[in-house]
Each structure stands twice: as C-alpha cells, then as structure tokens.
C-alpha cells in the first residue's frame, strides 16, 4: 500500500552553519534550501569514500 521513496539520512552534524548562503549561486529570486545538500556531510562522505 505504501512504498518509501526517500527518507533523510542520519546526519552526523546539525546546525554547524558551514553550509553556503542559499541565494548565492543558482538563482536570485526564489531561494530553495531543499535544493542544496549538507556540505559537511557530503564532505565527510567523500573522505570516507577515499579511505
């Protein structure tokens, strides 16, 4: 009856504020935080993958 498509990953960090200012690069009229990824988690995952 219900099939899960996507659910948030467990985050290692929250509220660190290292993410970019939302309206900086892609658009200048309708900011959408959801279009971004967590930069710190992405960075840490990359490090994990390189190990």
């Amino acid at each position: 009856m219900i099939k899960t498509i996507a659910k948030p990953q467990e985050k290692k960090v929250t509220g660190c504020g290292e993410c970019r200012s939302t309206c900086q690069s892609a658009c200048k009229t309708s900011c959408t935080v959801g279009n971004q990824s967590c930069e710190r988690v992405t960075r840490e995952q990359k490090i994990d993958e390189q190990k």
Binding site: M1, I2, K3, T4, I5, A6, K7, P8, Q9, K11, V13, T14, G15, C16, G17, E18, C19, R20, S21, T22, C23, Q24, S25, A26, C27, K28, T29, S30, C31, T32, V33, G34, N35, Q36, S37, C38, V41, T42
Partner: protein, 442 residues
C-alpha cells in the same frame, strides 16, 4: 477484522497526485512515500475501510519515524559570523532588460562602478567579521559585473591572498549577461569562479522581447555563441544558464527545453519579479503555470530515461542528503550572515534591497552594521512566518525570500502567496522526478 474510520492527522502528511501516481510527503520527517489510491484517501481524512495488515504497515512506518513524525524543534542557526557578500561591482549594465529589478542596472541612482578601494574594504570587512568560519563566499553582481572586470580580478587576487594569511578560503561566483565574454573573461572566470550564472531566457523571440541592448535591439544573437563557448570550455565546473519567464511566455517549458537543446545541462528558469502589468505573473496565470511545470516535468523524466537528461534547478531536491533542519528553518541568511555591498560601500541585507535607504545597514569603510536591522533579519526564520505554519513545503523552502515578501506584502515575514503556489507545484514535480528516477534505478 476490518475497520472503518478516518485517519486522524496528528501531524502534517501532504497527499498529492501526479497523473496516476499518489504520494505522501511527511513534513515532520521529510520522507516521501508512494502509495495507492486507498492510502491517499485514508491520509486525506476520508473514512476508508482498512485491514489490520494495512494499519500495521502504517504503524510500522510511524514507528520508524518516517510517517506522521513529529515536527522538529530545531532552532535556526544563530551566528554573528558574516559568511557571504554580494559585491555590486557595477551599477551599470550594457543591456536594458524590461523586467530588471535593478532599474536596468542603475538601482534607481547614478550609473557607476565599484572602485577597487571599495571592493578591498568589503573583503576586509568580510574577513574581519567572519569569525571562525573558514569558507567565505563572494558573488560579483551588477548590473553587469564584467563591465568592471579589472576590479573583479584585483578583488579575487586580493581576497585569496588575504584569506590565505588567515587560513580562509573564498568561493567566488559571478552573474553575467554574457555580452562581454571574450577569451580573457572566459579564462579568468573559468579559473577563479566556483559558479557562474549566465542569463539567457530561452527561445530567441522570448529573450529578445525583454532582454534589449542599449539601442533597443534584442540581445540573443550577441550572447548565445559566447555563452555556448564559455560553457564548452568550462568543462565540469559549476554553472547555471538562468532565465526568467514572464506572463508573455507562459509556455516556458519550451524555453527550458530549448536551452537544453542548445547543449546546456544546468538550467534554472525563474518567474519574473516585476510590477510591469504586461509581464507580471498574476493569480489567473497559476493554473497555466502549474500545467507548464507538469509538461516540463514529463519531458524532463523522459529525457533522463533516454540518457539525455539535464539539471533543472527546481526539479532537483535532496530529500536524503539535504541540509540539516537548523539550516532549513534559518532561511537565506540575508541581513545577518549575507549582505550586499553597493559601489559607494553601503551595506544592504541583500541585492534586492540595494538602494532602499530604509534598509541601509552600514558602510564597509565604517565597518559597522546596524544592530537593530541585523537583529530583525537574524530573527526572521520559518517560525516567524505564521502563514507557513501549516504548509507542507516549509522545511524545503524555509519561508521564501525576505525581499520578495517585503516587496509584495510589505513585511519580510509575510510570504507572497503567488510565489508559494509556484514553489509548491515545483516541489511536487521535483518529488515525482525523484520517485521516477528511483523506480528506473530498480
């Protein structure tokens, strides 16, 4: 045993359909589920016959925390650190686009460019106020920033040099109309810019109707090959071809697809922000816009399935690795951690407020920021926007654009419902794109 009863919606579960597909988006957890019609009716509050197995399935998802999950208690990120500046290096432009929010580059004042002294003071201001933050952002904006390329170059080199002394790294971006993209500019931008936003509205007739040269001619032919060349040379580095649609081209899916057909694989198209009656998006346009997004979404999925996909900014949504909830409730950071600096060094909350004296926050030469205004913007977040309280999209859009809210509704905390309607439609399309991709991958 069978039971009949309506589902008691404790928390917000957004039920929506896309063609014959039914979806549940759980606002509290951010999880997306596909479901059958019966489940959709059940979660819409209809009295539906449910089996024990079906109820157990729902209970399992609830237990897992991905359905009917309680909303976050996350608080906005509070920081005194300045992390990004938009440098208006040119309050002048070599185009005269009809819908320009910046008064065709002049920002309702004299046409001028920023001196290197001012840009340098802005970088010093950013470094001084950036606290422990290691990555800083500078966006070169206008008008047309390439009209002042020499200052852009000097500023980049100065920022890198000074940043390195303090162990800080700069990410630079530039927004350009492409008219001055010669070999020298292309080389510099490709070497130094983390991201480049290139303005192009789509089909020639659409672009030329609004994006005029100083002599009143359409600018499409003057920019298209330059932008193509730039993107070709740029390789894998980030860029966006970014356009604007108006009431004159409500068939804008054709413009996005036209851009994709030109070989651009990173595209954004935004609804116009203007009060010019013949261009302004009005409420009566919303049904057509919704259908157009669906049309685009269908073709987007088709092309992706055929291996000819491209990235449309608004159809990309990261439900799995997206920002933390603290970020999602903090909005864009304008006026608190992100500011605009105009050619005379005055500081505004963002580019959309530039020139509005009521929002002047200081000057980079004085090195000060109006504490009252800053606090007002720092306080502004999802939770100060009462209209967002019962919106399923709130943790994705974080309450919309401060400037848009202010210019249309007179209050940075009052979301503009036209923008909300389009945002919600795009988010539903983005979720359908995601579901279609996952289904293909399996």
């Amino acid at each position: 045993m069978r039971r009949f009863f309506p589902y008691i919606i404790k928390i917000m579960v957004h039920v929506f359909t896309y063609h014959d597909n039914y979806y549940l988006y759980d606002t509290g957890s951010g999880a997306l589920h596909a479901c059958d019609e019966k489940a959709a009716r059940y979660f819409s509050g209809e009295s539906v016959e449910m089996t024990d197995e079906e109820l157990a399935e729902i209970a399992g998802l609830e237990k897992e925390g991905i359905l009917n999950a309680p909303e976050t208690k996350a608080r906005p990120i509070k920081s005194d650190e300045v992390k990004a500046l938009c440098l208006h290096v040119s309050h002048d432009c070599n185009l005269r686009c009809k819908y320009c929010f910046a008064d065709e580059g002049a920002y309702h004042s004299v046409r001028e460019v920023m001196s290197f002294d001012t840009a340098k003071a802005a970088i010093d201001f950013l470094l001084k106020n950036s606290g422990k933050r290691r990555v800083l952002e500078v966006d070169f904006f206008g008008g047309e920033p390439l009209m002042n390329l020499d200052v852009v170059k000097k500023t980049v080199y100065y920022a890198k040099e000074e940043g390195a002394k303090l162990g800080k790294k700069f990410l630079f971006t530039t927004t350009t109309n492409g008219l001055l993209l010669d070999d020298d500019a292309i080389k510099f931008l490709n070497e130094e810019m983390e991201n480049v936003v290139l303005s192009l509205d789509g089909r020639k007739e659409v672009h030329d109707a609004v994006r005029k040269t100083v002599n009143g001619k359409g600018s499409f032919d003057a920019v298209i090959e330059k932008i193509k060349k730039f993107v070709r040379i740029r390789g894998d580095k980030h860029y966006y071809v970014r356009g604007t649609f108006t009431a004159k081209n409500l068939d804008f899916s054709k413009d996005v697809l036209f851009l994709a057909d030109q070989g651009f694989d990173s595209i954004s198209l935004e609804p116009v922000v203007t009060d010019i009656p013949e261009l302004q998006i009005k409420e009566e346009h919303l049904p057509a816009i919704g259908k157009e997004y669906e049309k685009l979404c269908d073709e987007y999925i088709n092309r992706e399935a055929e291996g000819k996909g491209f990235l449309f900014f608004h159809f990309h949504i990261d439900l799995e690795g997206g920002p933390c909830l603290s970020k999602r409730v903090s909005a864009c950071g304008a006026g608190n951690e992100y500011f605009s600096v105009v050619p005379n060094g005055d500081i505004y909350p963002c580019h959309q407020f530039a020139g509005d004296k009521e929002f002047r926050m200081g000057n980079v030469f004085e090195g000060t920021l109006d504490p009252v205004l800053r606090e007002k913007f720092a306080q502004s977040c999802l939770f100060t926007r009462k209209k967002c309280e019962n919106c399923f999209a709130k943790f994705i859009c974080s309450g919309g654009c401060n400037a848009n809210n202010y210019h249309y509704c007179g209050d940075i905390n009052e979301p503009y419902e036209m923008t909300c309607a389009m945002m919600k439609k795009r988010i539903e399309c983005a979720m359908h794109v995601l579901a279609s991709r996952k289904a293909r991958e399996k």
